[in-house]
Structures are given as C-alpha cells and as structure tokens.
C-alpha cells in the first residue's frame, strides 16, 4: 500500500564535486510503500542522489530528510532504517557467504542469535542456502547480487536502496531479482532503484523520475509517461523516400525519429491508426509495436552517447 506520507523529501538538493555539478537543485518525494525508479543516462546524477539518501555523500546545498530526520544531523539514525545494495560489489572477500551476513549484522548491533536467524531467512529467500559456506570469489555474478540484496535486508530496513541491481546479470538471474524485489514491495518495504533498463523500471516501479545532467526532467507512472510522450503505438519502417512522403501526408502531426536506417514514427493518435494506414498502403519491412518507456527515455534525453 502506498501511503500519502512522504518518507523521503528533497528540496533544492544539490551536490557539487569540485567543478562538476552532479545533482543540480532537485525536488522530489518518495512515499511510504512505493517503488520508485531513478532513470537517466550515465552521469545523470542517479547514484549521487542515492548516495546522499544513505548519508554516504554530504550534500552541497539544499535539504534532504529521511523518515523526518535530516541527513546532515542524524546520519546514524537514518542508516539504521535504510538498506543499501550498491552498484559495485563490496562484499567482504575475506569471509564466507553466511559470515558476510553475520558480520554485517554486527555493524547494526543485532544480537548474535537474532542475526543467525535473519541470515538463515535471507539465505533461503535469495536461494543461497547451498552456498552458505562458500567464499565470495566462488560465487557467480548473479549470486553476488543476491547476497548484496540479502545483506541490505539484514537490518530489516524500512527503505531499500538498489543502485543498478541487475546490471551485468543474465536474463534468468535478472527475473529472479525482479521477483524478489516484487515480494519485498508487497511486504511494504519502500524501494528506490536506479537503472538503465527501461523494461526493469516499467516492470517494477510505481513511479519513475527521469534525470539528465543533474536535473529531474520528468516524473510519473511509467504508463502515464508513455501515453503522454509517445502515444500508444510506434511504427518502425525502412528509410524509404516514397513511403516517408506518404507517411508525412497521412500523419502531419507525427514525430519521425531516425535510428540507423530505420525510421520510428510516433503519433498521439489512438491505437489502430497504423493498422489502417498499412491496409491502405501495404509496405514491406514494417513493424507496429506498443510504445514503451524506452521511447520516452530516448525522446527526453536524446540519442547522443554519454559517458
């Protein structure tokens, strides 16, 4: 259940690194129980924002509160109720799988018996029971990811921060992580995730915030954003002079976007207009598909390579 109570509140949140403004005066709220996604190209400021939420980075200016506490004065209390699954693997390579969880539990002052119980639960939930006594270097990328998630949950956090939780995973491992994230959401954990994968954001998030150059350029429910920015259907055709001319005549208000030698045609007209067009002007190599979040993302952030 998503409540109307803002669990995280940012006002004019800004982070500067020497001469780079990574996050540029953003405002946002995260409501209790929702799963919110920060989307954006590399360097958009997603990870920096997440790191400020868990008090890893101090803010340059602005205000940021988590569960009513200020990140500048009450870092310790905030970190107690937040679980963090960072982008990079920072599992402790000196320990086994279960020992990683137990040592982490100690950092949170969780008593030994309780820590053992929770570690056991997490290992079962993330299907790592068989690997319990294995050292970290022997785990696959997917298992490491799941262990990082398990570790992030050891303090039974109210807020879970997932920084690119599925980057580098194969489709099977990715689906498994998605399933686990959905289960956690059903249990009422507030989840904030950053991702490059639009289908991931569409599958998991109640709401997404699209960031670019340190600013939030759009936000809303994935389906609403798709409807608002790209309509319902997308027509993909070869870049053929004659066909393009006909299309321009038929859809004067449509947006044409070149991707290599293919043209994507976006229109805000209702579902079915492209089908009727094809009946009138049958053409080869044509695809009609549903508009998706990736179309929105590329429209808003452009096609230029980042990094």
């Amino acid at each position: 259940m998503i409540s109307s109570e803002a669990l995280i509140k940012a006002r004019g949140l800004t982070k500067k690194f020497s001469n780079l403004t990574a996050v540029d005066g953003i405002d946002f709220e995260v409501y209790k129980g929702e799963c919110i996604g920060f989307l954006g190209p590399n360097g958009a400021g997603k990870t920096t924002t997440v790191r400020m939420i868990y008090c890893f980075l101090p803010l340059t200016t602005g205000e940021l509160s988590v569960a009513g506490m200020s990140v500048t004065g009450q870092a310790r209390e905030i970190k107690r109720i937040v679980g963090v699954a960072p982008q990079e693997d920072n599992l402790d390579p000196d320990f086994t799988v279960v020992k990683n969880l137990l040592v982490y539990a100690r950092y949170f002052d969780i008593p030994k018996a309780e820590a053992a119980k929770r570690a056991e639960e997490q290992l079962n939930f993330f299907q790592l029971q068989e690997k319990k006594d294995v050292v970290i270097s022997e785990l696959s990328t997917g298992m490491k990811r799941r262990l990082i998630l398990a570790r992030a949950l050891i303090n039974e956090p109210q807020i879970l921060l997932l920084d690119e939780p599925t980057t580098g995973l194969d489709p099977q491992a990715r689906r498994l992580v998605w399933e686990e994230v959905r289960t956690l959401r059903k249990r009422g954990v507030t989840i904030i995730l950053t991702t490059h994968y639009m289908e991931e954001a569409a599958a998991l998030c109640d709401r997404v915030l699209i960031m670019d150059n340190g600013k939030i350029i759009e936000q809303g429910a994935p389906a609403d954003l798709v409807k608002k920015h790209v309509g319902e259907d997308v027509l993909e055709v070869d870049n053929d002079e004659k066909l393009m001319e006909t299309l321009r005549k038929e859809f004067p208000s449509a947006r044409f976007e070149a991707f290599g030698d293919r043209i994507h045609v976006f229109t805000s007209q209702p579902h079915g207009v492209f089908q009727s067009f094809l009946k009138k002007f049958p053409s080869k190599n044509v695809t009609i598909r549903n508009a998706n979040l990736e179309d929105v993302f590329l429209k808003l952030t452009g096609k230029g390579l980042r990094d």
Partner: protein, 267 residues
C-alpha cells in the same frame, strides 16, 4: 536553502563510540581465520636475526656498555616488530580493504561512521603490533635474553607504539593513489628507522647532529630505547622523554590520520 560548509580541519576531534570495536572485531575475525599464515613469519624472522646478527656477527663485536651484542639487539628486534606489524597493516592491508575490497564503503553504509572505521583500523594495527612483538618477545625470552621482570610491560608499550606507527601509516594511506606509493614511506622512513634507531648499534656512535635528527624524526628510536630499558632492566630518565614523544606523537597522528582519511573518503 541551507549552505553546508563541509571542510573539517585537519585536527578536528573525531567522535568515536564503541562501534570502533566492531571494525576491530572484523579484522580480528579475518586474522583468526588465517592465523597460521599470519603467525609463522613473525616467529621465524626474529629467529633468523638472532642467529645471523646475534650469534654470527655478534661473535666479532665487543660487548656494548657491558651488554653482549646478542642481548643488545634482542630488545631492538622486539621494537622493530612493533613497527613492522602496525606499519604494514595500516598501509598495504588497509589500502587493500579501502581501495580494492571497498570494505570501508560497505561499513559506512551501516550506523558506523568513517571516523569509527579508521579508528578501528588503527586500533587493529596496534593489536597486530602487540601480537607480533609479544611473539618475538617470547622467542627472545626463550633464548634467555631477558634480564628483568619489567619486560612484562613491553606488550603495553607495543600497543601504544603500534598505535603511533599505525597512525603514521594511515596518513600515507590517506594520500596514496596506488599500492606502489607505499614504496616511498617503506624505503624513506621505515628502512632508515630500522637501521638507525639505535637498533643494531648505540645511537651515541653517530655524529651528534644525526643523533638529534634521529631523536626528532624517527619514533622507532624512542620505542627501542624504552623496550631495551624494560628488557635489560636498565631504566633511565631519558626513557620518560621518549614516552612523552610517543604519547604526543600518537595523539597528533591519530587525529590527523582520521581527518585525512575522512577527507579522502567523503567527498
């Protein structure tokens, strides 16, 4: 909008809680897991020195102020192990944990603060120094090279001296861009200390200017002087001055290293 000026001075006092011990405990857990690999070298090295320098070279050397050469160097070997144990723990080992393993980042995401992580590392470095030097002390004692019950105070000195060398080491770790950087302090600081701190010959044989330089800049000289006094039972007033140097140095470098590391890790 509130402007947060986050530029702590190099000497602002760190706020520490008992969380420091959780970081220390993490390192102890790793140490216990690999105790055999950790323990043997620290046992064998002083044995080799005692054999080669004490018994071998010592046969050609006259007693120093009435003390046989092997008895003269034995306490120095204990002091050297205090330096090595802590210095290498808080340079190479801490750097690996910070830079390659990202262990510090993982801990900072929990209620433990950066200051506490670094303090935990420093206290652990001091603990390593105590463990290593106590092992060496036992070897020295087994060879009958201890002549005063005061030697029982050496582990206390080892912890203090270890904290000093850990703190100095951590200052280098705070500015190191890669592991190779540690060649500088290893060759320009640790090796001169190893050779010149009254370890293998009395400081008094050096020119006066060099003696003064050693006493000002090479803290091992003070650790050697006190260790030798405790092991040989020859307590002198100058040892008090050495103790003051160590106490003040430990405090200054402890605070400085935490602030430097904080500056490096929190941007």
């Amino acid at each position: 909008m509130t402007k947060i000026t986050d530029s702590p001075s190099r000497f602002s006092m760190p706020k520490l809680t008992r969380n420091v011990w959780k970081v220390w405990r993490r390192n102890l857990d790793v140490f216990m897991k690999t105790i055999r690999v950790n323990f043997l070298p620290s046992l064998i090295e002083p044995l080799l020195y005692l054999l080669a320098l004490g018994l071998g070279l010592g046969g050609f050397v006259q007693p120093i102020e009435g003390v046989p050469y092997v008895n003269f160097i034995a306490p120095a070997l204990v002091a050297i192990s205090i330096m090595y144990g802590s210095f290498f723990e808080c340079t190479y080992a801490s750097f690996v944990r910070m830079f390659f393993q990202k262990t510090f980042d993982a801990i900072i995401a929990t209620p433990i603060s950066v200051e506490e992580v670094i303090a935990g590392e420093l206290v652990w470095g001091a603990t390593r120094a105590t463990i290593n030097s106590t092992t060496v002390l036992a070897v020295v004692a087994a060879f009958g090279l201890v002549s005063s019950p005061l030697f029982l105070l050496v582990p206390l000195l080892a912890f203090l001296g270890g904290l000093l060398f850990s703190s100095i080491a951590m200052c280098f770790t705070a500015v190191a861009s890669n592991v190779d950087f540690f060649n500088y302090p290893a060759f320009l600081l640790v090796t001169p200390m190893f050779l010149l701190s009254g370890t293998f010959f009395p400081l008094s044989t050096l020119p006066l200017a060099v003696q003064t330089g050693v006493q000002i800049f090479l803290p091992l000289a003070h650790v050697v002087s006190i260790t030798r006094g405790l092991v040989l039972g020859s307590v002198e007033a100058s040892m008090l001055l050495s103790l003051v140097w160590i106490l003040v140095g430990t405090f200054v470098f402890f605070v400085l290293s935490i602030n430097l590391m904080k500056k490096r890790l929190i941007r």
